[in-house]
Point group: C2
Chain length 158, copies 2
C-alpha cells in the first residue's frame, strides 16, 4: 500500500461526470485553474517555460474498479489497461493540458477534462524529446472514426 498526499486542487467548469469531455483533445475550449497548496508552490519554479504539462490526479468520484470496460469511444469491451477509463485499480487520472500562464500558486490551463475539485497529485513537464513518440500502433483506437469520436469525446459540448 502506498500513501499519497494532495498537493493542490483543480477547479474546472465540469460539475457532472456525464457532461465532462473524456480527454483534453476534446476539451480545448475548457479552461481550469490549478491551485497549488502553499507547501508545494516553490516546486513550480520555471514551469512557465513549458507549453504543456501532465497533471496526475485522483479520480475522486470513483469508488470501485472494473478490469473489463467498454470505453466511451467504442461499444466493444477491452481490458482497463488498454483504455484510459477511470474505473482503474488505482484511480490515477492523467491529462496533458496547455499551460496558459502562472499567477503565483495558480496555473491557468486549457484542455480541462476533469471534474471540478479534482485533487492534484503531481505535475510533470511535457518534454517533446521524451514524450512525443512517432509511428505508434494505437490498438483499437486506430480504427476509431476521428470525427465520430470528437462528438462522443466532447460530450457534444463543442
Amino acid at each position: 500500500m502506498f500513501i499519497f498526499k494532495q498537493i493542490g486542487i483543480i477547479r474546472s467548469p465540469h460539475i457532472e461526470a456525464d457532461n465532462t469531455p473524456i480527454q483534453p483533445v476534446y476539451a480545448e475550449k475548457f479552461s481550469a485553474e490549478i491551485e497549488i497548496f502553499p507547501d508545494f508552490v516553490e516546486g513550480l519554479k520555471d514551469i512557465e517555460g513549458f507549453s504543456h504539462i501532465y497533471l496526475l490526479y485522483f479520480f475522486h468520484r470513483v469508488i470501485s474498479f472494473k478490469l473489463i470496460v467498454k470505453p466511451f469511444l467504442e461499444d466493444v469491451e477491452h481490458g482497463i489497461f488498454a483504455t484510459r477509463a477511470s474505473l482503474r485499480p488505482n484511480p490515477i487520472g492523467m491529462s496533458i493540458v496547455r499551460l496558459i500562464k502562472r499567477n503565483g500558486n495558480i496555473l491557468h490551463v486549457c484542455g480541462a477534462d476533469m471534474l471540478n475539485d479534482t485533487p492534484l497529485l503531481d505535475i510533470k513537464p511535457y518534454i517533446e524529446f521524451f514524450d512525443k513518440i512517432d509511428a505508434t500502433k494505437n490498438g483499437w483506437m486506430d480504427r476509431i472514426d476521428k470525427e465520430k469520436a470528437k462528438k462522443i469525446g466532447s460530450r457534444n459540448r463543442e
Copy 2:
C-alpha cells in the same frame, strides 16, 4: 491522503540508481519484464495492440522530497514540477516504454529506466491522438545539447 495498491512488479536490469538511465529515450537497449499480479491480469485484454504504454509506478527508494532540484541534464536549479526528477512530493514515476510482447501476465518492454523490483501502480496505453503534442515549448530542456544529454541520460551505458 490517498491509498494506492501494487498491481505488479517491474523486473529491470538496473540495480543501482546511479547507473540507471534517466528516461526511456536513453534506455532503448534495456528491456524489462513487467509481472502483473493475478488479481489484475484480466485488465490486460487487448493491450497487445499498442506499441507503447505508460507505466506509472512508485519510486520505491525515494524517502523524502525536494521542491528545488538540479536535474541530471543541467547544473541549474529548477522546481521539481518543472523536472522529471524522482524526489517529488508524491513519488510517482512515469515512463513511456515500447511493448514488445505479452506472455500471459508478463509484459516484455524496451526502454527500461526504472530500478529492479519497482512496484507498478498503473498502465495506460499511449494513444497518438491524445498524447503526441506538436510544437511544444519545452522550457529549460529546449536549450540542452541533445548529444551531451544522451551521455548523461544513459549514464554512459550506451
